[in-house]
């Protein structure tokens, strides 16, 4: 029997909503209790924070198709270094993960090389083309934890309604990135003063609200389980609140970059800040932070999107969207804590407990019987980020040379140390 005791730890318990000094005992990869006499391997946490590992539900790995941008090996290493113990991969690969065969390939690759747990989402429609639904039943059997066309919205409401209804009878979770597809087509930034000054094609923040209202109406119609991911605008929040009040099975997520950056960070056409949805106004950013703090937004994810230099070293309009985030998720989220916007236990609900629960995964808990997926971190230590030191194959982070606080000291998956 392998026993580890973490002593002298500041235990962050998102379930209990507490933060207290104590110790934690792990046997055979399972948490067996707090406090008590230390035995086995002793990890002295030196008063630093010990929390359930992060469960990141929007991770793009370049397998299959774009392994030069990110492989399971590099993504796994980046996750471990970032305190992420479970990654849930997106199906926006080439080809899309839309058959049990592709899913089986991905699962095998992940199992072979990743030090952290990997689960996969599948596309909702074949080829993410928005025309025909995938084999939702077979994909569920093969281990798909949710169904999403990721940043492509299913424009045809009839197709979407049927896919939602079919998913509902099987109990499958559908994830949308709400956006009115025609209004947002071709947009590189959010419309407003900045877009006008830079002369870039822009989309009104209203496109997100329109997309969300459509999705929620279809959820009401079909009774599907639905997660609205990548929300970024204040205008979308009232619709979400109404859906919650009406008792729909709806949760919502936000990407870390929309909580920590705004449209002006693009500056002189810096393409590492080109995201989808685009960065929003400061008012929107503040509204999203507040929505996380009061629990209206359930989940924060990195929306890790590796892009190589070639796809970013282009004029802004032509450059690829997305940013890597596995390794910067924790220090970026610490900005919210240091700004006094949210406490650590509440933050860990959004980073760990809620995503695990929503996708039916183990983790997110320090309770007895939970897997020992843990992150030990110092929330205060300052550093300047050097993108070339990231473990991801792609280095497209908007936080290059940014001053950050918060560093991972160790990561454990099922009681096995994978970082630090």
């Amino acid at each position: 029997m392998t026993v580890i005791t973490f002593t002298n730890a500041r235990l962050i318990d998102p379930e209990a909503g507490t933060e207290r000094l104590g110790s934690l005992r792990v046997e055979n990869g399972i948490i067996v209790g707090c406090d008590g006499r230390p035995s086995g391997e002793i990890v002295d946490c030196g008063g630093k924070c010990l929390a359930p590992g992060i469960v990141d539900i929007g991770v793009k790995v370049g397998e299959p198709g774009e392994r030069h941008k990110e492989s399971f090996r590099t993504a796994g290493a980046a996750a471990a270094a970032g305190g992420v113990t479970t990654i849930v991969t997106r199906p926006d690969t080439t080809p899309a993960i839309d058959t049990p065969e592709v899913l089986a390939f991905v699962t095998r690759r992940a199992r072979e090389v990743s030090p952290v747990r990997v689960h996969s989402m599948a596309a909702l429609t074949k080829g993410r083309d928005g025309r025909e639904m995938v084999e939702i039943g077979f994909l569920l059997d093969a281990g798909a934890v949710a169904f999403t066309d990721a940043d492509r919205t299913v424009a045809d409401s009839k197709v979407y309604a049927r896919a939602l209804a079919y998913a509902r009878q099987l109990g499958a979770l559908v994830i949308g990135h709400p956006q009115e597809p025609v209004l947002s087509a071709g947009a590189a930034v959010t419309s407003g003063k900045f877009a006008t000054l830079r002369g870039l094609p822009a989309v009104s923040p209203m496109a997100e609200r329109m997309g969300l209202e459509r999705d929620l109406a279809l959820v009401e119609m079909t009774g599907a389980r639905y997660h609205a991911d990548s929300l970024s605008t204040a205008a979308a929040l009232p619709a979400l609140e109404r859906a919650r009040a009406a008792g729909l099975d709806v949760t919502a997520g936000v990407n870390i970059h929309h909580l920590t950056l705004n449209e002006f960070d693009v500056g002189e056409y810096r393409t590492f800040f080109k995201l989808k949805p685009p960065l929003r106004s400061e008012d929107d950013r503040v509204a999203m932070v507040e929505a996380v703090a009061r629990g209206l937004i359930d989940i924060i994810s990195s929306m890790h999107t590796p892009q190589d230099e070639e796809s970013k070293r282009l004029p802004f309009e032509a450059a690829a969207s997305g940013a890597v985030g596995l390794e910067t998720l924790l220090p970026a989220a610490m900005r919210l804590v240091h700004a006094g916007a949210i406490g650590l236990p509440a933050l860990w609900r959004a980073l760990s407990l809620n995503p695990a629960r929503r996708l039916g995964l183990p983790g997110g808990s320090l309770a007895e019987g939970a897997p020992a997926d843990l992150v030990l971190f110092d929330p205060d230590v300052p550093f300047v980020l050097d993108r070339f030191k990231l473990r991801s194959k792609s280095k497209n982070t908007p936080f290059d040379e940014a001053r950050m606080q918060g560093r991972v000291l160790g990561t454990w998956v099922g009681g096995r140390r994978v970082f630090g």
Binding site: K193, T196, R198, G199, L200, Y269, E310, R313, L314, P315
Partner: protein, 318 residues
């Protein structure tokens, strides 16, 4: 005389005294250009490459003449027909050209910010000849010189910029320049052709031509692109002309001595009535073209001086 720039990428980074420096030097080139013997030696020995990723006849010709009058070796590259078609990226094209040691690169590109990106990768001084909907700095400078010569000053004027503001880099550069020089800038046009939150840039916005032109010293018309005329942004050409086309009646709301400008090429009978465009008492459209050559000579001259200062130990920028 101050001009601390390494490139001319836009009006945004320029200080008012730098704008004045360009215009003052351009005045001397206006005089030179009217001589039978038009040669000067400011760019002698230097290589100027005009890279146009978007079609242009007028601007390219203007830059070419400007370079040749100052003694540069000028080369035109029609980028649409070349390597871009073969899939080469903008950066690779820039690096290839850079290896040929040009001194001045004049670049037009359909994407906003593309010229800024290119300028980061080359050693030459880069002049933006128009990037997407972003900036067209030499157009704004030539407009400024035209206004200054016609009105005797470039401050405390009321200037109405009319038409398709949303898609216009000319409008952006002009509103920035005229704002920096402390003028009152009005934007006039249909809501569908007005960029979002443009009022936050310190301008007044009008959708009615008569109100927008009331008491204006300068009426600056913009070109309406053909592809935007049918149904997408405005219902039709004739309705546009009826409401926003500049005719004698609408112009009568401006000051009696108001001048009429247009960056060209004009759509007569769409955004401007032909007789107004040709009215030598009101229209300065031909003078704008003349000022274009002088302003481009001045801008390239100043950038070349800074290039030389950079190359010499202890050299000081203009």
């Amino acid at each position: 005389m101050t001009f601390r720039q390494r490139h001319l990428l836009g009006i945004e980074p320029l200080a008012p005294d730098e704008i004045t420096t360009i215009l003052d030097l351009a005045e001397s080139y206006v005089a030179l250009n009217r001589q039978p013997m038009k040669h000067a030696r400011a760019l002698e020995g230097l290589t100027q490459i005009n890279m146009f990723f978007e079609n242009s006849t007028r601007t390219q010709a203007s830059f070419e003449i400007a370079g040749k009058r100052l003694g540069a070796d000028v080369m035109n590259m029609a980028m649409q027909a070349s390597s871009i078609k073969k899939g080469e990226t903008l950066i690779d094209t820039a690096l290839t050209l850079n290896a040929m040691h040009p001194d001045l690169l004049v670049v037009r590109h359909p994407n906003s910010g593309a010229v800024n990106l290119l300028a980061e990768k080359v050693n030459a001084a880069v002049l933006n000849a128009g990037d997407g909907r972003h900036e067209h700095p030499t157009q704004a400078l030539l407009d400024a010189l035209t206004i200054r010569r016609a009105k005797g000053r470039l401050h405390r004027l009321t200037i109405a910029i009319c038409g398709d503001i949303a898609h216009s880099r000319v409008a952006r550069s002009n509103l920035l320049l005229l704002g920096k020089m402390e003028n009152r800038v009005r934007l006039v046009g249909p809501t569908t052709l007005m960029p979002a939150k443009v009022a936050d840039l310190g301008v007044e916005v009008y959708d009615d031509m008569r109100e927008g032109l009331e008491g204006a010293d300068v009426v600056m018309m913009l070109r309406l692109q053909k592809e935007r005329m049918d149904g997408g942004f405005i219902p039709s050409e004739r309705e546009y002309y009826h409401r926003w086309g500049l005719d004698a009646e609408k112009l009568s709301h401006a000051k009696d001595d108001a001048i009429v400008m247009h960056p060209g090429p004009m759509n007569r009978g769409v955004e401007i009535d032909g007789t107004i465009a040709d009215d030598i008492n009101r229209s300065v459209i031909q003078e704008q073209v003349e000022m274009g050559v002088a302003v481009r000579m001045a801008a390239m001259d100043l950038l070349a001086r800074n290039l030389r200062a950079e190359a010499e130990p202890g050299g000081v920028m203009v």
